[in-house]
Structures are given as structure tokens and as C-alpha cells.
């Protein structure tokens, strides 16, 4: 019950887009880029998303479109692009052959680091610093994935059609927070908490957030025992939970 095109949007913005946060949070990632000439990689998916990752001064930034990229990777379909993410498709650049070394070395290493944090080995999570970074990255990725599902997946769009305008805050107490901004039933994932939320869903700890992300605990049960606090327009939270259920389907 998932859709290839929606998965491509999730892979583009929630997975590759999380390289932005990876380079901020993980020195191992930003160190790969330091002292290197700025470079950008455009991912152009026919019938799907199109975006460019800019790498400069140890940082990474994603922008819509591929007009200003150094390396351009075209994909003939969302399925082919999804193949890049799951490792079954090797991309062939249509532009930027002189930068191919970056693609093969630094970019590949960056995505390997991202995988290490997004799909961690259980023992890696016993390191507190790794655990916090990994869970923070997951929060960002999940927030963006929720928006992509709301905007692209047929069932997600049905859910979005029931959400009123405003900002939903997704917060970890004493930790990071994100925003889902709703306007005319389209959602935008923002990797920072909102100033004036209309609804709040707050996890009591980063450990609880992790357990929820990993599917080890249930949101409804956690609301009951007080480990998730919800307030404001509860209909927004209710619908957010339906979208989160679909994130689990796509990112399983």
C-alpha cells in the first residue's frame, strides 16, 4: 500500500535532504567536506522530484531544481531513483564528469555515514552522543517524510485534506524540535520548532522519541501514560498520527 513516486519524494527530501543535518551534527561528515572546492549534485527524476545538494565549507544545503548543479544525475523514473537509495541502481551523470571523483568518494562516504545514523547497529546506540545525533536526524527525516506523504501519497492526501492551517510542533523535551506547516492542506516539513504552534506533540525524552520511531511503543499508549504531551488543535495531532503511521510503511 505504498506508492513509488511518493517514496521517491521521501528519498529525495527526507533521506538525501537529511544530509543537511548530518553535516551540521556529525563532525565526521562535515570533515569530509572541509577544505574542498564547493560542488553541487542535482538529482533529476522524470515524473518525480528534482533537487540539488550544495556542498560548501563543511556544510550541505538542498534546493529545489537542478538548474545550478555541477553534477547532474538524471533518473528515467521514480523507481530508478529509489534504486539509487536502496543501492540497486548506479547513477550515470549527464553533466559534471570532472566532479565525478566527489561523487564516488566524498558523496558516497557521506551517504554511508547517513546510513550508519539512520539505520544504526543496535550496539552503536549505546553511545550517548551517537544515540542523540541519530535520533535527532530521524526526527528531521520523519518530519520531512510526513510532509511528502501528505502531499503525494493518495491516502496521505486524504489525511491532509482534513488538516486545518497552522504549525504543528513536534518536540522532544530538552531536545530538538521540528515543524509541520499546513497551508491549504499541503504540508511543509521545517527542521526547527515553530514560534507560534497551533498544536503541539511533545515527547518527554529523546529515549521515548527513539522508541516511537523504532516502533517499540505506541503513541496512544504513550499519551495515556503522560510520556507524550499533546495540546492545541488535537485534530491536527490526530491526523499527524495517521501520517506517521504511513511514514513507518515507507521507511520500514
Amino acid at each position: 500500500m505504498t506508492d513509488t513516486k511518493t517514496l521517491a519524494y521521501i528519498n529525495m527530501y527526507a533521506i538525501l535532504g537529511t544530509l543537511e543535518n548530518l553535516c551540521e551534527l556529525v563532525p565526521e561528515a562535515s570533515d569530509l567536506l572541509k577544505g574542498k572546492k564547493p560542488v553541487s549534485i542535482g538529482f533529476d527524476v522524470k515524473g518525480g522530484p528534482s533537487a540539488t545538494l550544495f556542498f560548501k565549507n563543511g556544510k550541505c544545503r538542498m534546493e529545489q531544481g537542478v538548474d545550478n548543479c555541477d553534477i547532474k544525475l538524471p533518473f528515467s523514473s521514480p523507481a530508478k531513483f529509489n534504486g539509487l537509495i536502496d543501492g540497486t541502481v548506479t547513477p550515470i551523470p549527464s553533466k559534471g564528469f570532472t566532479h565525478i571523483k566527489f561523487l564516488l568518494n566524498e558523496f558516497t562516504k557521506l551517504t554511508d555515514i547517513l546510513t550508519k545514523y539512520m539505520k544504526p547497529e543496535p550496539e552503536a546506540l549505546s553511545d550517548r552522543e551517537f544515540f542523540v545525533r541519530s535520533t535527532s536526524l530521524m526526527l528531521s527525516a520523519i518530519t520531512v517524510a510526513v510532509a511528502q506523504i501528505a502531499n503525494n501519497d493518495s491516502i496521505g492526501k486524504f489525511t491532509a485534506s482534513h488538516i486545518v492551517d497552522g504549525d504543528i510542533a513536534l518536540l522532544i523535551k530538552d531536545g530538538p524540535g521540528t515543524t509541520l506547516r499546513v497551508k491549504d492542506h499541503r504540508l511543509l516539513g521545517i527542521k526547527a520548532p515553530p514560534e507560534n504552534p497551533r498544536a503541539i506533540m511533545e515527547f518527554k525524552s529523546i529515549e521515548l522519541a527513539r522508541d516511537l520511531f523504532d516502533g517499540n511503543v505506541n503513541a496512544v499508549a504513550s499519551i495515556g501514560d503522560g510520556s507524550i504531551r499533546m495540546s492545541g488543535m488535537i485534530s491536527m495531532i490526530d491526523n499527524l498520527n495517521r501520517l506517521l503511521d504511513r511514514v513507518a510503511l515507507y521507511l520500514a
Binding site: 496521505g156 486524504f158 497551533r198 496512544v220 495515556g224 504531551r229 495540546s231 492545541g232 488543535m233 488535537i234
Partner: protein, 419 residues
């Protein structure tokens, strides 16, 4: 009267115990998540006893209860006449191989009471009867599609849920069409777009959805809907599970001046004893007879005995007028108290099932804060759902409730001095 701020240590202990053996600890609308208990620490989670318009929780806190078990408490908890009838019938027979003639007595009473009823079919929950209604409409028309009003709630069977709900498949809801409440033109257009395919239009008598101000029918809306359904051969189903007998003992369709083809009752039928009823017109009776649809306890006679006494008592009290009067008195008091402290408390829906929302912000943060301050002071209300008046709500209850509301407004104002 001094205000005691309640604590819930025993509720929390029991909840932790429950969570080990019960999904979510307390699931569904009585639980903290679906019941929107915000924050959960301000609400009782388990009741110890109940009488009249009050219940006492496991910590010994007493509440004036405006949720009335989400509707079934219509006369008052532990009504002596109803409960005596149940006990008496239980001694004679309850769940038996052949049903008791209480089945006939209750069906006759329903037909005599409900204006649009030529017959009555009994089950346990409201959702049993909405499902029976949909099946009957499809059986009668040999059509598949059902039109719902957006924001609807008709129970928990898969067809009543939405495509994005856990455990629901697209096939479960593939025949569902949606239209805005009170929008007759849109309904007419939707029916035209699905000409010859619509089995039924199902709706509550007015829009009493959660999280939004409740909306009464526009002038002439129901009459136009009735005419259109008749012209198009569409079965008109009124889900009167929530409002039934609180607005009009002849049915809420009667209250709003039209006749449903099928009408569903539950909450106010038997003062907490488990029975629901689908009533309808003669023309669709044979389709209901044809349904393969039954349940182990549906013809148990003790709840029938409760319903007979309850309905007769509601008639004797002229209960709908009483509920309206009490609802107006209570909500007028709330509104005035709010105004005095700078709160814009919006009251909507019918007074017997009033809905509350503080409109000072558009997020419900202030409203939720006020509701929890009320609950902690001994008045059980919710921040997301309509409320219910029962016959046992006394003037003393109402006056005390207004005092609590005012005290809660003061407490919220302290936290939000800008109001």
C-alpha cells in the same frame, strides 16, 4: 464554597496496572488519548461509584458529570426505577434460547414513541444499528454508495472509518462519498454525479462533530434533503444515537420537521443498560428481515426492561424540555462567567448537548487549560466533544458548576494575564 484541587494518585496507580494487561490502559473514548485528557494528570481515569449526576473516582474525588458516560446516563446514574426493572427481569430471565416478550413490549413502545417508526430492531451499541441501517439500505436498493457528511461519526465498524485509519482497507470505504454539512447544493450535485448508484444518505440530525463548533440545520435543509432522497430512491438514515430522546422523544427527525426512513437510537434508551434500536418505515422492513445480522446478547431481556422503564420515565418528565431548560441555564452561566473575566466562550449545538469552545485563541490551548481547571475542581467536561444533560442535573449542580467555571476562568486568567 471553597475549591479543592483534585489529585489522582490512585487513578495513576490503577492506570499503570491496567496498561500491563489492557491495550492503552483504557482504550477508546473513555481513555486519556481519545478522550483528549489534556494534560492527562488533571483527569480521573477510573470511577469508583456513580449516582445521579455525579460520579466519584478511585481517589474519592466527586464530579458533577456533564459527559454522562458520553450519553447513556440520561435519567441519572443508578436510577432506582430502571435498575429495579433490570433486577426483576434478571430474576425471571435474561439471555435465553427463546426471547422474552419484553422484545415485543419494547418494540411496541418504540413504535408508539418514535414518529417515523413502523418497527424496531434491537442490538447493543449504536454502531450495530448504523451498520444494520447501511446493510438494509444496500439490500433494499441494490446500490453500493453511501453519502456521509464530512466530520461524521457513525460508530467504529470499518465502513464508518476513513481510509487512513489503522486496520481499514481502501475496499472497506470504497463506496463512501462525502459532502459538507448543510450544503444542499453540494449534496444534489454529488447525487447527480453518482446517479443510480447511491443507496443511502446517513447523517446525524445536526452536526455535532468533535473539535468544531456544532452546527444546527439551516432552515429548510432537512425538508429539501427528504424530498431529494425520496425523488432519487435514496434511503434517508438519521443517526440519532447521540441526540435521540434528548431533543424529542418522537425522534430528532420529528424535532426538525421531517421523517427519516431509518433512524438509529442507543445512548438515551435504557439509562446505561446495553440496548440500541434501529427503527424504520414499513417499506424497508422486509429488507431488514432479510439481513444476516445478529448477536449473542441482542435479545437479552433485562436491558429491554430497563429501556421500557427509562422511556416511560422520560415521557413522564417531558425530558427533552427539561434538558433544554437546564442546558440553557448552565451555558448562560458559563458564558456570563467567562465574559466577566475576559473569555469569549462560544456555546454551540442544542442546549441538551451543548458544545463549548473558548475563542480567545485559534488553537484551543486556553480552552484546554480552562477545561482541565474545571475538572480538577470537580466538574467533568471535555475539550473536544459535546456534553450531555441528564434529568438528575439539579439547580444546585448547575449553580455549583457555574462557580467552578468561574473559579477556573480566574485560574486561567492568572496564567494568561493578557486576556
Amino acid at each position: 464554597m471553597a475549591t479543592n484541587i483534585y489529585k489522582y494518585s490512585k487513578s495513576r496507580e490503577y492506570f499503570e496496572r491496567a496498561a500491563k494487561v489492557v491495550p492503552s490502559g483504557v482504550y477508546g473514548h473513555l481513555g486519556p488519548a481519545e478522550g483528549c485528557m489534556i494534560p492527562v494528570t488533571s483527569f480521573p481515569l477510573f470511577a469508583a461509584s456513580a449516582k445521579g449526576s455525579h460520579f466519584t473516582d478511585v481517589d474519592g474525588n466527586d464530579f458533577i458529570d456533564y459527559m454522562c458516560a458520553y450519553g447513556p446516563n440520561v435519567l441519572g446514574y443508578g436510577d432506582e426505577d430502571v435498575d429495579a426493572a433490570v433486577l426483576e427481569q434478571a430474576k425471571i430471565a435474561n439471555c435465553t434460547t427463546s426471547p422474552s416478550i419484553k422484545l415485543i413490549e419494547l418494540a411496541e413502545l418504540m413504535v408508539d414513541t418514535v414518529a417515523s417508526a413502523d418497527w424496531a430492531f434491537f442490538a447493543k451499541n449504536g454502531g450495530d444499528t448504523t451498520t444494520a441501517a447501511i446493510m438494509a439500505a444496500r439490500a433494499h436498493t441494490s446500490k453500493k454508495k453511501i453519502i456521509f457528511v464530512k466530520g461524521f461519526y457513525h460508530g467504529v465498524a470499518p465502513w464508518t472509518q476513513k481510509i487512513d485509519y489503522p486496520g481499514v482497507t481502501p475496499e472497506d470505504v470504497s463506496g463512501n462519498l462525502y459532502v459538507d454539512w448543510n450544503d444542499f447544493d453540494a449534496l444534489e450535485k454529488l447525487i447527480a454525479e453518482n446517479e443510480g448508484e447511491v443507496a443511502a444518505f446517513i447523517s446525524t440530525p445536526y452536526m455535532h462533530g468533535n473539535f468544531i463548533d456544532n452546527q444546527l440545520p439551516a432552515d429548510g435543509y432537512w425538508q429539501k434533503v427528504r424530498k431529494l432522497c425520496t425523488e432519487k430512491g435514496i434511503v434517508l438514515i438519521v443517526d440519532d444515537v447521540r441526540c435521540g430522546f434528548r431533543l424529542d422523544l418522537a425522534g430528532s427527525d420529528h424535532y426538525y420537521g421531517f421523517e427519516a426512513d431509518l433512524i438509529c437510537f442507543c445512548k438515551a434508551l435504557a439509562n446505561g443498560w446495553s440496548v440500541s434500536a434501529l427503527c424504520g418505515k414499513e417499506f424497508i422492513k422486509s429488507s431488514v428481515s432479510a439481513l444476516s445480522y445478529t448477536g449473542s446478547y441482542w435479545l437479552s431481556s433485562a436491558p429491554f426492561a430497563a429501556a421500557i422503564v427509562c422511556i416511560n420515565k422520560l415521557k413522564k418528565l417531558n425530558a427533552p424540555a427539561l434538558f433544554r431548560e437546564k442546558g440553557i441555564k448552565l451555558t448562560d452561566g458559563f458564558t456570563a462567567a467567562g465574559k466577566e473575566h475576559g473569555f469569549d466562550l462560544v456555546v454551540s449545538g442544542e442546549p441538551a448537548l451543548f458544545y463549548l469552545r473558548i475563542a480567545n485563541d485559534d488553537s484551543l490551548f486556553i480552552h484546554q487549560d480552562w477545561v482541565q481547571e474545571c475538572v480538577k475542581r470537580g466538574m467533568f467536561i471535555t475539550n473536544h466533544h459535546n456534553h450531555f444533560i441528564c434529568a438528575s442535573h439539579s439547580d444546585e449542580d448547575i449553580n455549583r458548576s457555574i462557580e467552578i467555571a468561574e473559579d477556573a476562568f480566574k485560574a486561567v486568567k492568572k496564567k494568561h494575564p493578557g486576556i
